[in-house]
């Protein structure tokens, strides 16, 4: 879903990295070798010897979209359980051994995949691989209900911290089922409901592990100051005898049309906020890059259309953000704006709709579109400075496109988008039915967005 941080094992504070670059940029190349073991495990290795560090990035191709009715939040809860020790590395050795090697770790879950990360000095790679192998192959022998219960409590605390105790946090529960139809894999919040977290059983853990946590459903990326050949040897040694798991199919999202929906909810907040959410496209759909550019044209910079008008010229909003939430199976697009004191959300939605209408009719100027492309290109080049970011992207490209080094191909998508494409995608995706969610201060329902205007 849209403006959410990924659901993580624990909070990792990342300083916002400044972004850079532009036209005639060098071709982006992140050489990566890909091979698959007999048991179906895929290994991707990228060498970068600039500093003596290494990042491992293990993806299991299962996410909240694969959850069963009554078990929302389970994929993420399971991610937590993966840190509770395995046969040869009992709890809490996963963490203590990594820290003793100077390494850190984390995990994240989204709708489509569950990711595990280790990063640290390059000599620690065998330890990282050994720990990942042990929990891929030998998690269940030491798994028990107290371990599940421990992480269940922690995940509930995570939900309290990220949803219940966050201003506007309630939107995370409301938006997915309002936009996506019942049964759609994206129709619930990744972190799940308290009731469903309570219902998860030890048998659920075992079933989930046996179905999804198998080498043929996993991809390991190793990036950093390593030798490809020795990484391949180590991975074969450590993971080679983990048996292949059963075949399964990911859910197929039903085709659907959003019903125009207006929702108002009260929260303990000072200022009202409106969320506009449309049905978008899946990642790497032909219109995906154009919608990314639209989000930049609307709110990517100080001079972007909505930012400039709503926040600065007309002083209606304290902030406004647009997100293209394209995902593996489907996607959504959102605009989120918070009103300034004394302004109503209808003032905001009217101004937003006016801008969408104008962008759909007139399209962006050549200069505006080039600024958006350049800014996106800058963010690409900046990512190449970090082995962690490269490892994550290699896994992402491999999952979504089947090709690991997809950096330049991805960037080329943005260069190919024309002003006509921008007009077309705004018309196609952002002018039709949507979910309008107003989160207003208690007792202030009169501030909510109530009507469509320029449609």
């Amino acid at each position: 879903m849209v403006p959410l941080a990924p659901i993580m094992r624990y909070l990792l504070l990342l300083a916002a990295l400044p972004a850079a670059v532009l036209a005639q940029a060098p071709r982006l190349k992140v050489p990566a070798s890909v091979d698959t073991l007999p048991n179906g495990l895929t290994l991707i290795v990228h060498e970068d010897h600039s500093v003596p560090t290494v990042a491992t990035n293990v993806w299991y191709l299962v996410g909240s979209g694969d959850e069963k009715v009554g078990r929302t939040g389970f994929a993420h809860l399971f991610e937590h359980v993966m840190f509770m020790g395995s046969q040869h590395a009992p709890y809490p050795e996963f963490d203590t051994r990594l820290e003793a090697s100077g390494s850190s770790n984390n995990g994240t879950t989204n709708e489509d995949r569950t990711a595990y990360y280790e990063w640290g000095p390059s000599n620690a790679l065998p330890l990282m691989l050994w720990l990942e192998a042990d929990r891929m192959g030998w998690l269940l022998p030491t798994m028990d209900l107290p371990k599940l219960d421990a992480q269940r409590d922690i995940v509930k605390n995570e939900r309290r911290q990220g949803v219940e105790n966050q201003p506007y946090g309630i939107s995370q529960d409301i938006l997915p089922p309002a936009l996506y139809p019942a049964g759609h894999p994206y129709s619930w919040n990744v972190i799940g409901s308290m009731a469903d977290l309570s219902a998860a059983s030890l048998d659920d853990v075992k079933d989930f592990f046996r179905t999804y946590y198998a080498p043929n459903n996993a991809v390991i990326v190793v990036a950093g100051a390593v030798k490809t050949d020795s990484v391949r040897r180590a991975v074969r040694q450590m993971f080679g005898d983990i048996p292949r798991g059963p075949a399964f199919t990911r859910p197929t999202p039903p085709a659907f049309t959003v019903r125009d929906t207006v929702i108002v909810t009260e929260d303990r907040v000072q200022l009202p906020r409106v969320y506009l959410s449309w049905h978008g496209v899946k990642s790497f759909h032909a219109d995906d890059a154009a919608l990314d550019l639209v989000s930049y044209l609307l709110t990517g910079a100080r001079n972007s259309r909505l930012t400039n008008t709503l926040v600065y010229e007309r002083e209606l909003a304290t902030n406004v953000n647009a997100f293209n939430g394209s995902k593996k199976l489907d996607g959504d697009f959102a605009v989120v704006a918070t009103a300034r004191p004394g302004k109503s959300l209808n003032d905001l939605t009217t101004a937003i709709d006016e801008h969408l209408a104008r962008l759909a009719t007139e399209g962006p100027s050549a200069r505006e579109l080039q600024q958006a492309r350049n800014a996106i290109e800058a963010s690409f080049l900046n990512r190449l400075e970090s082995v962690n970011a490269k490892a994550e992207q290699l896994n992402n490209y491999y999952y979504l496109t089947g090709k690991a080094d997809g950096f330049q191909a991805d960037l080329d998508r943005y260069a190919a988008v024309s002003a006509e494409d921008i007009k077309r995608v705004v018309n196609t995706y952002l002018r039709g039915p949507r979910v309008t969610l107003s989160v207003v201060p208690q007792g202030k329902k009169d501030l909510a967005a109530t009507r469509r205007t320029v449609q």
């Binding site: 003596p52 090697s101 640290g120 421990a150 605390n157 105790n165 080679g240 907040v269 800058a378 082995v387």
Partner: protein, 481 residues
């Protein structure tokens, strides 16, 4: 050639061999023995003087066509005097119009160049950061020159940012972590101490900011003789010197600079702990902050303090996190840390905890804060913390932004990158006795400031029963004014 062909076929054989055969020699019951870690190598920093009293520090790194520039200017929020918040306000406005461009045009141009500029104020200085692609060096540095030397501070832009900041105070009240942090600072540092106030000031003062007051403040604090240009990336020392000199070579100070006032007010001296409660009705969690005044970055105890804090609350396996998160299940995460500034910031231990275990969480916090003073840490904990601190250092120097950030951060304390290997060596020498000594000296749990932001109707009685100290009740509206 033969060897490489041999190697390649050996890998191929491996791939074709039966899975069991391929790993027969591998004993997974034991963790692998690791090779020795690489020695920490810090890149050379070339330091030169520029006209006007400016300094230039260059680190060449030609891996990617990127350059990170950070301009640090000594001063910062401690210069705010009787206009709290003006440093952060002025710094935020530097890129809202400069030279011939208004805010929208300036930021559009930066983005068009693939550059990213941000300007901030901290307690001890101003920082203007510019990340750019090598080939946009000249036009992007022209804009940097405008931002630092020719900001507009137009009346319209000052008013917009002022109104945004006023709305921001309202929104801060919604965030219990922010409220707890501000209340904690007010309680640890009495009125008159700079840290008593928020870096963003208060609404009454902000409402008085206008174009001329901001410009006057700018002229007294953004000055060449206080500036250091840190340039890291795909650029030579000579190129960096020429590029900076072309935009700043004729920059000269005018008028008198504002001097940083001495801090005359001492942090609150306590003889017993004191509790500050702030109500957040229906809160699912209570935000807890516990602490006291901290210590100098340049203290000879720095390495021992970092090891001690890593064991106490500075890593995932630290005692606070393992107890409050993993063992008790009270929180999503608990931790602690010292805030280092030129005038020491506080030590703080904190967590968000489930409302109905607020009192139990406080018990666990104090149990850990006392245990690390009363009982020597285990050899295992010590070794893990020392390794963790030392061996993660190479990762702190990965990209141009990280290197420039490290140079800037260390420079604030009069230190160079050479401090990193010195720190590594000092960490290796920290003993169990050192950890206990610094815990006893710098942790004062019997004289703590304790802030709890939560649903007081549910948590007050439990906190009172703990008899931690006198209890005061504050209002979030008085904390975020």
């Amino acid at each position: 050639m033969n060897r490489s062909i041999f190697n390649r076929s050996a890998v191929l054989l491996c791939a074709l061999a039966p899975a069991l055969g391929a790993q027969a020699a591998f004993d997974r019951t034991k963790a692998p023995r690791l090779a020795r870690p690489a020695r920490l190598v810090v890149p050379p920093v070339r330091v030169t003087e520029l006209p006007g009293g400016m300094r230039l520090k260059v680190v060449e790194n030609h891996e990617l066509p990127l350059v990170q520039v950070i301009v640090t200017i000594d001063g910062g929020v401690r210069l705010d005097g009787n206009t709290p918040g003006i440093s952060t306000f002025m710094a935020g406005l530097l890129d809202d119009g400069a030279g011939s461009r208004d805010a929208a045009a300036l930021q559009s141009e930066l983005a068009y160049l693939g550059a990213n500029l941000s300007s901030t104020a901290s307690w001890d200085g101003y920082s203007i950061s510019l990340k750019l692609a090598r080939r946009s060096l000249d036009p992007a540095l022209d804009l940097l020159g405008d931002v630092i030397r020719r900001p507009t501070f137009s009346g319209a832009e000052v008013k917009r940012q002022r109104d945004l900041r006023l709305a921001g105070y309202l929104q801060t009240r919604d965030r219990p972590e922010a409220v707890a942090g501000l209340a904690f600072n007010m309680a640890v540092y009495p009125a008159g101490h700079p840290y008593h106030r928020a870096t963003n000031g208060d609404s009454a003062t902000t409402a008085t900011f206008d174009s001329s007051s901001v410009r006057a403040f700018y002229q007294s604090v953004i000055r060449p003789e206080r500036s250091t240009f840190i340039v890291v990336g795909d650029i030579s020392v000579a190129e960096a010197r020429a590029a900076i000199t072309a935009r700043f070579g004729d920059w000269r100070a005018t008028g008198t600079g504002l001097a940083t006032p001495a801090v005359t007010v001492r942090p609150t001296v306590r003889t017993a702990s004191r509790v500050y409660l702030i109500d957040k009705p229906e809160a699912a969690q209570s935000v807890i902050q516990i602490g006291w005044p901290g210590v100098e970055r340049t203290s000879p105890d720095y390495a021992a303090l970092m090891v001690m804090n890593t064991i106490l609350g500075g890593s995932f396996t630290s005692r606070l996190n393992m107890t409050l998160r993993e063992t008790k299940g009270y929180s999503y995460g608990a931790g602690s840390g010292f805030t280092f500034r030129k005038v020491p910031g506080p030590f703080t231990a904190s967590a968000s905890v489930r409302t109905n275990v607020t009192d139990s969480s406080l018990v666990e916090f104090f149990s850990e804060l006392r245990a690390i003073r009363d009982t020597p840490v285990s050899a295992d904990e010590l070794a893990r913390a020392r390794n963790y601190l030392e061996l993660q250092l190479p990762g702190d120097l990965e990209g141009t932004s990280q290197v420039a950030g490290q140079v800037a951060q260390l420079q604030g304390f009069g230190l160079s990158l050479g401090e990193l290997p010195r720190f590594a060596a000092a960490v290796r020498l920290v003993t169990v006795a050192d950890v206990q000594r610094v815990a006893r000296r710098y942790l004062t749990p019997d004289r703590a400031t304790i802030v709890v932001v939560g649903d007081l109707a549910k948590v007050r009685a439990g906190i009172e029963a703990l008899r931690l100290g006198e209890i005061e009740t504050w209002d979030a509206k008085a904390v975020v004014r």
